[in-house]
Amino acid sequence: MRSIIKNANQAKHGLMFIAPAVLILVVFSIIPILIAFFISFTDLNLKGLADWSNIQFIGFENYVDLFSDELFHKSIFNTVFYVLIGVPLVIIFSLGIALLLNYGTSKLFTFFRAVYYMPSITNIIAVAVVWGYLYNTEYGLFNYLLSLLSVEKIPWLTDPTIAKLSLIILAVWKGIGINMIIFLAALQGIPKSYYEAARIDGANRIQVLFNVTIPLLRYATFFVTVTTLIGWMQFFEEPFVMTDGGPLDGTISIALFIYKNGFQFSQFGYAAAGSFILFLIIIITTLVQFKLRKSDTEY
């Protein structure tokens, strides 16, 4: 009898503790998914928002339209461009810097750990404002420094392809910090005895790096790859604040395409359909990575 009361109490108090946060998550994360799914099959726009009777169920029309929307194609191409160049750069730089930082524990190393981490916690608008100035073709610092090396002025943000690369540089600069910390935590978790064993076997620095350190970092690398990839597939803030998708839609990403259709053109149904395609791409890419990793550990 007593234990029944105790269990009931446990349940009551447990639910009491989790209720506020879980309720908020349900209302603002779970229910919205269902709503998004539903409205992606409707023509919901401003008219529909004012009066629900204007909303019409249009089946797969939004999805069919997306497949023939050239701007959507362009946004997919640009996103693939960002991911293919940006993600490897982030991983290489954050791992490289973590390896360098792992050399010492003196004040100098702690200081530079903070310096490399700093961009990742800096406000994106402040970043955009500062980099917009640095990238300015006439008065920017970058073109001035390059002119000292007699390089022609680079149209950092006014040429479609160069603008994409400029945004990648900025995003890599901002994306290193957090991943570097994850690699660093993993590096510090490697037992010293592994290195000693390798040294006794006569392995040199390079061999230790490629045969001991990097294989032992595979969990951290997997985690960083999965999260970075998910993040870059949703590439949004950089083009949103720096170029607004331009020039000539050269920097528009899928996420920006969704935002623009939703909040600038008020095509909520169409934007929701776009967001589900993005969601699907992210889920498939992530599942593929987990699949690849499984087959990797079996051998």
Partner: protein, 276 residues
């Protein structure tokens, strides 16, 4: 043998040199921002650019508050920061509930919480806006704050930490007649201080930087946050780079200072959360 020890001797200085060079490269935007924010409007477009302002001035910072509404933006941002800390408390409570109580459906609920982490912001953005619109909360502070209160990742980290607290300790407090909330506030929170430190800093940074949601929800300038205000400034004063840099510095420097004091906790926090 000798060459090897020579290599070992120079290894660390070479690494340090690399780190310093890279660090300077990474810091250029920050240094340029600070230096330009003290320049006069006419000096900021000089070619060649001045590294150190020839006529240093504090006017840009004063203008943020006098000619622009940065005082209002600051107030709104601080309100958001305050409520995000209440959200942090809710997340901690949920983490504790998931870690230390037994009830039916707990595992399932926890998986649902974890699953929300995978939903891209773009998918929920539109329906959440529509929901808030139905509730009449667009263009209100409540509409800006509410959706961000619960953070799945934060609940997850709190749960991970709190499962390590011995259950006997809680049982003992119960036998002494302590109420559940008394136990949470007087026993659990002091033990969970390290995770609160990490989460507290990350929450502060997130709330201080909040941009997209306030931009979507707020129509009136009286509800703008610092980020939204800064993007407005960038549009209105497109060529006044000195003013823009002052606005940016005003947003960035407080974060840098807070981070400099607490960076130890952030790094420890990642080691603690077992992300390795």
């Amino acid at each position: 043998m000798e060459s090897r020890s020579f290599l070992q001797k120079i290894e660390k200085p070479v690494v340090a040199l690399f780190l310093i060079a890279g660090g300077v490269l990474v810091s250029i935007p920050f240094l340029w921002m600070i230096s330009s924010s003290f320049k006069q409007e006419s000096d900021v477009l000089n070619i060649p650019p001045q590294l150190i302002p020839s006529h240093p001035t504090f006017d840009n910072y004063i203008n943020l508050f006098l000619s622009l509404n940065f005082g209002v933006y600051l107030k709104n941002t601080l309100i958001i920061v305050f409520f995000s800390f209440i959200g942090l408390l809710l997340n901690a409570m949920a983490g504790y509930g998931f870690a230390k109580f037994k009830f039916k459906g707990k595992e399932k609920l926890f998986y649902i919480v974890l699953a929300t982490m995978m939903i891209p912001a773009q998918v929920t953005m539109i329906p959440v806006y529509l929901l808030l619109n139905e509730m009449g909360l667009t263009n209100t502070m409540a509409g800006i704050i509410l959706p961000g209160l619960a953070v799945a990742f934060s609940i997850f980290l709190f749960r991970q930490f709190m499962t390590t607290i011995p259950t006997d300790l809680i049982e003992a407090a119960r036998l002494d007649g302590a109420g559940e909330f008394y136990i949470f506030f007087k026993l659990i929170i002091p033990i969970a201080k390290p995770i609160f430190a990490v989460q507290g800093i990350l929450t502060f940074i997130g709330a201080w930087n909040s941009f997209l949601w306030p931009l979507i929800i707020a129509n009136d300038e009286s509800l703008y946050t610092l980020s939204v205000g800064l993007s407005l400034l960038q549009g209105q004063y497109a060529n006044n780079y000195a003013l823009q840099m002052a606005g940016a510095a005003f947003m960035v420097v407080p974060i840098v200072i807070i981070f400099a004091f607490f960076q130890k906790y952030i790094v420890e926090g990642f080691t603690m959360s077992g992300l390795k």
